[in-house]
Symmetry: C2
Subunit: 225 residues, 2 copies
């Protein structure tokens, strides 16, 4: 295992003045009192801003909804964890023994949070420009290959837009049933397009998820006909 | 009505190089094709970052949850609309005739969005430092008088912490009933603390709101006893 300092220099091209900031960024709360949760909060807000700004400049024709969806796809935990893995960040993490034994260094949320905390630490150590530069370098490939924002829309939105484009009135979502005990509830929702006399149902652990599932079924029904 | 340019100079101490950016920031989508929604997206992300950074520096003992709650209270629409009103921003807005007649210039969400768009416009026109300075000046009084983060916690969180502090097992929330037609549903939720043999109920237009209402009743019951 290389030292934190060598790692961040080699992988991120950055030299910390105050190495204790980097130490804190790489310390999970299971391992020490000076852990990375405050830095994660700070780094998360920097990341959101830098990506929003860059998307705004790169996508002059994207509307606000497209920009939001593109940003969400870039800053979500799965994406951050991928970047963290590519940097070998897991090997640098300081975890408590419980987390270590349970393989916590591979857990995506821990990796994602630690990478955000590193951004926060660079912001404090080197200022906003240094931190922005690091974010943009790590995201360069993804920013050059942005997905089509249309594909990032959720099923309810896609269904609504499909119906509107055909001048069909919008669907109703109705909670038909809530089953199971607390903490383990199951929502059954139906999606109805009354003017076409069609309905589908969906299930999920939340009302929202059940609605999305019912909208997916409705979209399939409509576009396969 | 003073010109946009005079207004922003007098009220915000900023002179735009490119006045068309300010124009776009003050244009609601009801009034023109070059409207403020993209700038609002940009300004919102800047605002979140600047406030997060400032709270981090000012509140060295606040944990991540406290920082999140403090930020949410500062960047929410109500607060932004208060600031916008104090600047007389409503008189500068360009609204379509429909919004104008319905008194849209007083609508809080329209004011809040336009203020965020102004932050975005300053970012593009004068760079991150100029935009950060403007945000911090407008928020100076509020940052000097931060609320106690404890008071910003939602009822479910406060109930959970109250029970944990007394080593009482956590409550269950159960959806007892969902009434009414789609778009107008009413959730009835009960909050149960089985070990104390207590339960309360709450209602709301979403499951979350109904749970919070039931937690509020439970807290009142527990702390009045």
């Amino acid at each position: 295992m290389i030292s934190d300092h060598d790692w961040v220099q080699r992988k991120l091209g950055y030299s910390f003045r105050d190495v204790s900031l980097l130490d804190a960024a790489l310390t999970h709360r299971s391992s020490g009192s000076r852990h990375n949760e405050r830095l994660e909060f700070l780094g998360d807000s920097l990341l959101n801003f830098v990506i929003a700004h860059e998307l705004f400049l790169r996508s002059p024709r994207a509307d606000e909804g497209d920009l939001s969806r593109l940003r969400a796809s870039l800053v979500r935990g799965v994406t951050l964890a991928e970047i963290a893995k590519s940097l070998g960040l897991g090997d640098q993490l300081k975890l408590g023994s419980g987390e270590l034994k349970s393989g916590g260094y591979r857990r995506e949320s821990i990796l994602a949070d630690a990478l955000e905390a590193v951004f926060g630490a660079v912001l404090l150590d080197g200022g906003p420009e240094a931190a922005s530069r690091m974010v943009l370098e790590l995201y360069a490939g993804r920013l050059d290959n942005l997905p089509d924002p249309e594909h990032l829309k959720d099923p309810k939105t896609r269904l609504q837009e499909w119906l509107q484009s055909k001048n069909i009135s919008l669907p109703d979502y109705i909670v038909d049933d809530v089953q199971g005990a607390a903490h383990n509830q199951r929502f059954i929702v139906s999606c109805r397009v009354d003017s076409l006399n069609l309905h589908t149902t969906g299930q999920g652990t939340s009302r929202r998820k059940a609605e999305q599932a019912s909208a997916t079924s409705m979209l399939e029904k409509l576009t396969s006909e």
